[in-house]
């Protein structure tokens, strides 16, 4: 019963968080001073189209129907909840009308997940391992060098870091493409190789960008943990050093790191906007940027909602897995 109650409470929390989140998104989108139809007309006419007022009114009528912007705010909210929780249809994209938002998101999600999960996990693992070793052996020259590099990389603005990598590895040495150009039929060998080739530089920029923080934070945590009495006691008992490192220091160091990792993975669903724009990577970041620029709030709501569900879902899963990582929670 205790376990069931534990799960049910957290499930209820999850549902509540998602509902509050999507409602806030709905309200916020209506507060943005953008009318998607006026934005579209402005954008079209700025390219050279001149229409009479009658023609513009006709266009407004057609687009209002097509965009589903008719009815009171409550009717729109009702349709919004139905679309999002029952039919899972976010409606048409205003800027790419009549393409459905779900199609655009479906196309972008695999790219973002592929890039960001891989690079986040690699950054997390490598950063934590290096940070742990640097924390446990703080006086070694290599540890000091690693800490110096991490402290140097961490405050670098991501844009500068990524552009610097581009200049060195795409312009000066032409090892990687300047921006993603994927060719080949989906899931052929050529396509897969192309995706890996095109993703390497963006992934590298994320790994380097993230590693600085992981190294610094784990080094600080592990330095503290290894001064704890239970570690000292284990060493005095003659426990092998690698066991002390992995079973005593690492496990206690990892707890906060796992939480941050879970939140980071959840945030992946809103995309890494700078990375994707800089490398023209076709993921959710590029999509949400274009939605914001063009006032496409169906698309904005779709991407943000996916992100809300992902973050809430990741925290829900972390809540459920905590007892396995930390016995103290299990005992409580």
């Amino acid at each position: 019963m205790g376990t069931l109650r534990f799960i049910l409470v957290r499930l209820l929390n999850f549902v509540l968080v998602v509902w509050v989140g999507v409602t806030v998104v709905f309200v916020l989108m209506r507060l943005i001073p953008t009318d998607p139809i006026e934005a579209l007309i402005g954008s079209m006419t700025s390219q050279g189209t001149i229409m009479s007022e009658a023609a513009l009114d006709e266009m407004r009528r057609v687009l209002s129907d097509a965009f589903g912007l008719h009815g009171s705010i409550w009717e729109q909210y009702g349709r919004y909840l139905y679309r999002n929780f029952v039919s899972f249809d976010f409606g048409p994209s205003f800027s790419s009308f009549p393409t459905p938002v779900s199609e655009l998101i479906g196309r972008a999600v695999p790219w973002t997940i592929g890039l960001l999960i891989t690079s986040t996990v690699i950054g997390w693992v490598v950063g934590n391992v290096i940070g742990l070793l640097a924390g446990v052996y703080p006086n070694r020259r290599l540890s000091k060098a690693v800490e110096f590099v991490a402290i140097f990389v961490y405050p670098l603005p991501y844009y500068v870091l990524a552009l610097g990598l581009s200049i060195v590895l795409s312009y000066t040495f032409r090892v990687f493409p300047l921006s993603a150009v994927v060719i080949g039929e989906p899931w052929t060998l050529q396509f897969v190789w192309n995706v890996i080739y095109n993703s390497t530089l963006p992934a590298l920029s994320i790994v380097i960008g993230l590693m600085g923080w992981w190294v610094i934070s784990v080094k600080a945590l592990s330095s503290g943990v290894q001064e704890e009495e239970f570690v000292r006691f284990a060493r005095l008992r003659g426990v092998a050093e690698h066991r002390v490192l992995t079973q005593y220091i690492l496990r206690n160091t990892l707890l906060p790191q796992v939480t941050v990792l879970a939140i980071q993975i959840g945030l992946i669903f809103s995309g890494s906007i700078l990375t994707e724009i800089l490398f023209q990577y076709p993921g959710l970041g590029t999509l949400i940027f274009s939605a914001v620029v063009q006032g496409d709030y169906n698309l904005m709501m779709g991407v943000i909602q996916i992100s809300i569900i992902a973050v809430a879902g990741a925290i829900f899963l972390v809540d459920l897995t905590y007892p396995f990582i930390d016995p103290r929670i299990r005992y409580r």
């Binding site: 943005i32 001073p33 009318d35 998607p36 006026e38 934005a39 579209l40 007309i41 402005g42 954008s43 079209m44 006419t45 390219q47 189209t49 001149i50 229409m51 007022e53 009658a54 023609a55 513009l56 006709e58 266009m59 057609v62 687009l63 097509a66 994209s93 205003f94 800027s95 790419s96 009308f97 009549p98 393409t99 790219w111 552009l163 581009s166 200049i167 032409r174 090892v175 990687f176 493409p177 300047l178 921006s179 993603a180 150009v181 994927v182 060719i183 190789w193 080739y197 390497t200 724009i277 800089l278 490398f279 023209q280 076709p282 590029t286 274009s290 914001v292 063009q294 006032g295 496409d296």
Partner: protein, 648 residues
């Protein structure tokens, strides 16, 4: 001891072998990746021969729905060749002269009656669609009827508004009845700026389709190129020359001359930094609309790159839209001409030009952009009138020597190759602008109740602090964005509290359309024109377009007109574009707009559109002005027909 040493040696040997294997693996990976990198420019990234491929930057960035080409069913981003290649206009603009010429049509439309409500259109013979079917009157009539019959098509306003019927006379002749007199038929149904509103689609492809559900991809086109491949993520699209290119519209227009590129690749590399790098390493032949700073980097990195002029001021100055500060004239205090004129006289236009685009701009005191043809038609002929123009109290605000002062500043800054004579300098930097006279500006403000506080800041007539908000585009239209900040600086120095609000496209246009703004660094449509007949843009100053604040409009968003302007426009719309009365009448409209000053027009638009001559030559330039560098317009095809391989 020996037994202790041996395993260690073995471990060291193993370690060395592992290291070598690891090193080899890394080296193999790196070499593999290097081989994947663009192979020394022999081929493009998509595998076409580089020397046969024209690579063009995608204006507008990534296309989110790249596999939709139906121009009527979807709000399609046309920047991957849709506008430039897929849909040719019946009549096209020749931007150097502002004159129109027949493109799909064989001749200019012939009016069949005196009130311009019936026309005959002759189509070019010998054009085929890319699937081999003939282009003929059936396609034109079908397109018109499809638009008239389908209420769900969002982009059909021009046709519904103007067209009563269109009928086929024979395969190459169409007869048209309009809903109202239309002496500018070719301008309404052709392409004046960017592209046409009426795009002919193939009848044999569309007739059995539901137009609103049809993607029309790959598009069937009359152009010499067809889409052969594309990126589902919208970052590139490849067009290939048709085998039957001789039957395409461009080849027929050019008397059978073959366009040189075998492939045209539209490619988007990302932010300006990336696009500049791409051209620097010869991965782009045409680069759209970059900043002067980007051009500085590029010309130093790649000596084969060129822009419009071979030296200062580098940029093309003939973009058909000029920039300035537009006012919502229905919102106090900007509903008073004294306030708008005071702000004009508080402006140091030399500082604004320098701080916006390093002085590489042509100033404009008129509501007609200072492009070459309009400089000759309006700016230079009106210079005497501008000099004599006086405010109601007799004050003459015009300063004819602005160009000389801009040149003086530029020379002091090290610019070389500037013209020597005053006349040449005025031709380059503009005929003049309004004086900066802060005393007169203060007098005008005080005349309508403004006052200053102890710090010299201006107060509104009710005694509250005056804060002026200027809307500016954020991260697009860089010239308008920079202009807003440059203007804000000079007005702040005059004591006005100015806030620049940078807005993304959505709120930027929404506020403009609904009148929810005070002032903005806007430009469209009533600061745009490309021909001596300023109709396409300035007709919107008529009072019929003026709406109340809160009521959306897509035209006169300054909500300004006068009975005099409306009466003049009424006379103009009844005349054809080539009537001798057109220029004198528009001259009077421009004079009325100077008097009322609903827009403080400031500078023409300078466009940096670099081209790369490594693989292609004979691009348009100031010394080879056969067409403007408007690669995102339908005039793209005309340029493609002229360029030649450079032999690299």
């Amino acid at each position: 001891m020996r037994s202790d040493i041996k395993p260690k040696v073995r471990e060291e040997q193993m370690s060395a072998i592992q290291h070598k294997l690891f090193g080899l693996a890394i080296a193999a990976g790196v070499i593999g990746l290097v081989m994947q990198a663009p192979a020394a420019a022999q081929t493009t990234e998509v595998g076409t021969p580089r020397a046969e491929t024209l690579i063009v930057d995608q204006l507008g960035g990534t296309v989110t729905s790249p596999f939709k080409a139906n121009p009527y069913a979807s709000i399609t981003n046309m920047g991957q060749g849709g506008n430039q290649m897929a849909f040719s206009p019946l009549w096209e603009i020749h931007t150097p002269t502002g004159e129109m010429f027949p493109f799909l049509a064989a001749e200019m439309p012939k009016a069949l009656n005196d009130d311009f409500t019936e026309f005959e259109i002759k189509l070019r013979a010998g054009i085929t669609w890319s699937d081999g079917e003939s282009f003929n009157a059936d396609d034109v009539v079908f397109t018109a009827q499809m638009l008239l019959d389908n209420e769900d098509i969002p982009i059909r306003g021009v046709v519904v508004d103007n067209l009563e019927s269109m009928t086929k006379v024979d395969d190459l002749t169409v007869r048209v009845k309009t809903t109202k007199p239309l002496p500018r038929f070719e301008k309404v149904f052709g392409s004046v700026i960017w592209g046409p509103s009426f795009r002919v689609v193939p009848e044999h492809v569309f007739r059995d389709e539901d137009v609103m559900a049809f993607d029309f991809y790959p598009p069937v086109t009359t152009a010499p190129y067809v889409v052969v491949d594309g990126d589902p993520n919208g970052n590139w699209k490849l067009w290939k020359k048709r085998d039957d290119w001789a039957d395409s519209d461009l080849a027929v227009l050019n008397n059978g001359r073959e366009p040189a590129p075998n492939y045209i690749l539209w490619r988007f590399y990302g932010p300006e930094e990336k696009r500049v790098l791409a051209m620097a390493q010869n991965d782009l032949d045409v680069l759209m609309d970059i900043s002067p700073d980007g051009w500085d980097v590029l010309r130093n990195a790649n000596p084969n790159t060129e822009v419009w002029f071979p030296g200062f001021p580098w940029a093309n100055m003939d973009d058909p839209c000029e920039r300035g500060i537009h006012f919502n004239t229905r919102v106090a205090p900007y509903d008073q001409w004294q306030v708008r004129w005071a702000l004009a006289l508080a402006t140091n236009i030399v500082d604004v030009s320098i701080n916006t685009f390093n002085g590489m701009l042509r100033v404009s005191p008129l509501n007609a952009p200072p492009i070459q043809v309009l400089m000759e038609t309006y700016h230079q002929p009106m210079a005497d009138w501008l000099g004599d123009f006086a405010l109601p109290d007799g004050y003459k605000p015009f300063d004819p020597d602005v160009a000389l002062r801009i040149a003086e500043w530029l020379r002091a800054d090290g610019a070389e190759g500037l013209p020597e004579t005053d006349e040449e300098l005025r031709a380059l930097f503009g005929v003049g602008w309004w004086k900066q006279d802060t005393e007169k500006a203060a007098e005008l403000l005080e005349s309508v109740g403004f006052s200053r506080d102890d710090d010299g800041k201006w107060l509104l007539p009710d005694g509250t602090p005056w804060t002026l908000f200027i809307n500016a585009p954020a991260d697009f239209e860089v010239l308008s964005q920079r202009l807003a900040f440059a203007v804000a600086n000079v007005w702040r120095a005059f004591g006005v509290n100015v806030e620049v609000q940078q807005l993304q496209g959505g709120p930027f246009w929404t506020n403009y359309n609904t009148g929810d703004y005070q002032a903005g660094s806007y430009w469209w449509p009533n600061s745009c024109a490309v021909a001596p007949d300023l109709f396409h843009g300035l007709e919107t100053w008529h009072e019929r377009y003026v709406k109340d604040v809160g009521v959306s409009t897509g035209n006169n968003r300054e909500r300004y007109s006068t009975p005099e302007i409306s009466a003049l426009i009424d006379q103009i719309v009844a005349l054809p574009s080539d009537d001798p009365q057109i220029v004198p009448l528009w001259t009077e409209v421009l004079q009325e707009l100077v008097v009322g000053m609903p827009v403080i027009d400031m500078v023409g638009t300078s466009k940096f559109v670099p081209v790369n001559t490594t693989y292609w030559k004979n691009f348009p330039s100031s010394e080879n002005y056969y067409e403007g560098p408007w690669w995102w317009w339908t005039t793209f095809k005309v340029i493609v027909g002229e360029i030649e391989p450079s032999g690299s």
